[in-house]
Subunit: 321 residues, 4 copies
């Protein structure tokens, strides 16, 4: 592996290499407020553990992070409940589409993992129980990781709530098994808001830095900097090193819907994708990379985003394997 | 991470730490010839990329490697067919027990991945097609990796063939979908023989070294050495570096039956287990570790083997995450 | 077959024969308001096409008819929509428990038949769309068939609404597939009220007479009569003869949850059961028989009710086969 | 209902009414020996309990009865084992295609009913155990019911054996659960032969007469007669009346694959279909009707055969409901 590749050159090259494919896939249209996102966007941002950062394309344009938010809420729920969380949600890949009810019915309302919708609803339920103002807690955490600009996109949240029948179905099913502490409405409200978080690639790469750095978050020197200075600001321990590793393990086995095996095979990095077209990958000990392009493939992952990560990995030699 | 832990001390310590749990779990009894393996065995062997090796306990006692053989046959089939193999078998975790027919039926006879039984039958079918003497080719490959002592245990193979109804059911189902090139009998014969390979921990740790070392296999200086000399013998490229990474990815997402997520969470290493009680884990760039203890948990993985790997990881700090 | 058995003698004899088994099974406890029904009740009422009627035991004690109401709402929905109803719900036995979501998910939100919960929710949705006051229409229909005393049990309806998560889950799932015209809340409200209808065996036997008599309903001369007079009051055509036969066919294949095959084998009559412990069976061309006993078996059918119907059939020789 | 319709006129009229649709559907092609049956055939034969018989079209042309044979083997197995048979096979509609393995896997190798393939394999297994020469016993039984001309079509049996992977898959799965007493090969051989029985509509209508007549079989006066004479030959009791009713119940709920509900709704008679294009229906107390036309619909039932039965029922008013 190249010990210190030139990140700025690499992100430019990745953008160039995927340029001809931008526009492939299909913008998620089941949430009306997302259906109008222009399909021709592509952004990439990298942030290394040694303080470098670089980005290319539309890396500063905010988008709806959707399921990527599951990493943040999982982090918060693990902080509040510790390993007891796993009594209510599993750690296994589901082998089924992200919104399947089949397993939930056969497995007594305990979702396979916290990164599919059903599992994220359980996690949201924990936050509703454990935090007086769960959405404030979430927003405050994300802002502390990646900047004060970040906000919920209320239009998206409401659009999502209005079309949340599938998630409502899962929530009621879990409730019927006794695996929901709060009302379905309260949980759906929290869940749809978390999905509506609006962030850009640079912010996402910064926000998940703690997963690359043994649980420790180092703020960027300045939100505007595109090239790190190498200076190390005060770091905050978000989770301990073991938990960071474990969250990465979950992202690798469950983070990209029912294409996690393929993604591990082709990209080889822990990652979480969202139907807004974003994907954030973690290179433990080295840094994070966030990509965004709204056209989705059949599995719900960004087509060009996955392609960009493949090329990024090929150029850097960075893989956990 | 500790840059160079003392491997010999660590394997002793792991053995001591799990000593009180040896005997837990249940010896696989669905294959009569395996039912009489004494449950009180435990072995561990480590081999590092820099040539060190160490072992403790019953690491030199051969056992039936069973599903661990799927890594060897996958390697051979990828050599013969390349990426075209994936037209006949997927790369996704199954989310179901290792011998489930459900997905096979719904997914047109294409198994989820090559490390569950159905997928391994497809891989065996490829070997039967592609090699004049597939079992000779397999044995020759494994001996070249880990020593001439290795052999099939014919009694186990025949015992397995006599109770192979579940595998026969899967093979016929795939055949009915056109996803088997050879007769079910020929494929089952090859499959039951591969499972019967008899190896010990030291041999397994040596045999899978290529997955830790970018596809390159370095023979041990001498079969008797328990501490490497640091001298580097001539290395052979078994697969290219990208393929080694990809096989590791498959092991991480699919190598420990329907407990792969939990295993990734707790241990964090690519690994393959077998119902004989063996597990081999790969630490990319660092080495391999093989453990053996015949008592299995519900998921078919060695109870004490998993525990030993957890402690090994805790002591070395080695994890892909 | 005995051409004209003495109905009064037979119902007494059935009651005597099952007397020792009364109390078997378990009272449905998932609806709190039903959990306190005394398990030692048993009633049976018969009404023949030639105007005879007879009853024994607690045949005049009202109980919650629950799923038996699905026959009434199906009749109403077929009147309003005709065969177009079948675009939204199937006619096949489900082969799964009455409240399963599995098939619903795999079959695009179209329930297997109108006598399982999911199908009955679709039927309720039709009534909410097609009738200005659907609950009034239902009550008025049932009263016209079996007497003005009949009413909703509001306490049961509210208890059911408060624990309707499973049904809410199914309704939202169907809504997500576009197979619900009204709000989930409106449909659940209608559904829980229909289930709460309180009727006794005599009323149920009278109410479903049209299914035995080619769709024609003949009111009883007097609610108190236990032996018909032979006088034929004015009959009303509720559905045409073909539709009556078809509703009977649905009851035979789908009317007793996932035990319909066993019931057809043992009893051999179209029937609909409810978790309140009631079962009504139709003997085409001959009459109806309603039984009630609150102890349920695993499949949700009244244990003693099924036993009583077996004995009734054995004594009368009445079977469609 | 018309008490005594003119059968000869009715069968002619049914043939005329379906004439324009003959050729619809698709001839079963998964058994090579069946793929060449001309699609333009149609036959109908009726035999009444009062000794009348009539036929039209190709009612005397033999065809492969395939799954209709399951009724004969079930009858034989019930004679040999009585109700103990039900420990090994259920009585419920499967709700899944006739050759599905899903339920078999989840329900410990116990098939849902004896009229789907898996269940018929269990029944065949019983015959292999219980009769020294099971195929001779079957042939002898069928010949005694419908004439000495009847024989196995060896070419079809061998063609079926050569493509029996799906059935072999089910048989091995049941064997793995301990629900097969004999070797898979022996059971498949018996099963493929029973399916290859070659009979015509007149023979089928005669053969199943015992199911219409309380278990009693009355031989036809002469194989050539198309109008019964009313003379009653010596009757043989094949099964008792209760068992005849129960077999009819199984045919109604399970006899026409996963379209049994629709068939009961539209036709309203117990029936068994085969992929050779034959269907035999029973009108308890009145007689039997056999139809044949090789073009199948999606569910595996003869398209024109089902249509003919619908019209037959409309013209006669005969329905169990």
């Amino acid at each position: 592996m190249s010990s210190q590749p030139d990140i700025a050159t690499i992100v430019q090259r990745v953008r160039d290499e995927v340029a001809s494919r931008i526009g492939e896939g299909r913008v998620a249209d089941y949430i009306p407020a997302l259906a109008h996102v222009p399909i021709d966007r592509f952004g990439i941002a990298v942030r290394t553990s040694c303080g470098q950062s670089a980005h290319a394309g539309d890396a500063e344009e905010p988008f709806s992070i959707q399921s990527i938010s599951k990493v943040f809420t999982l982090t918060l729920a693990l902080q509040a409940r510790g390993e007891a969380l796993w009594r209510r949600v599993g750690k296994e890949p589901s082998g089924d589409p992200f919104n399947s009810l089949l397993q939930l019915e056969h497995e007594c309302g305990v979702p396979r993992n916290p990164l599919i919708n059903a599992g994220a609803l359980v996690v949201a339920d924990c936050l509703v129980s454990d935090y007086e103002k769960p959405l404030d807690a979430l927003l405050s955490k994300v802002r502390s990781l990646a900047g004060k600009r970040i906000a919920f996109d209320t239009a998206v949240a409401h659009s999502e709530l209005a079309t949340a029948d599938r998630n409502a179905s899962m929530a009621h099913l879990m409730k019927s098994f006794g695996n929901l502490e709060n009302s379905v409405d309260a949980v759906l409200d929290a869940y749809c808001h978390q999905c509506s978080l609006s962030m850009n690639c640079c912010e996402l790469a910064a926000a998940l830095g703690y997963l690359a750095d043994c649980g420790s978050h180092s703020p960027v020197a300045s939100a505007e900097s595109t090239q790190g200075t190498g200076a190390t600001p005060r770091a905050t321990q978000i989770v301990d090193a073991a938990r960071a590793r474990r969250i990465n393990a979950l992202m690798l086995t469950c983070g990209t819907y029912d294409r996690a095996g393929e993604f591990a095979y082709e990209v080889g990095l822990p990652a979480k994708s969202g139907v807004g077209g974003g994907i954030v990958a973690v290179i433990p000990g080295r840094g994070t990379v966030a990509v965004w392009s709204p056209g989705l493939g059949e599995s719900g992952n960004s087509v060009v985003g996955v392609e960009a990560l493949k090329r990024f990995v090929a150029l850097t030699g960075w893989s956990v394997f």
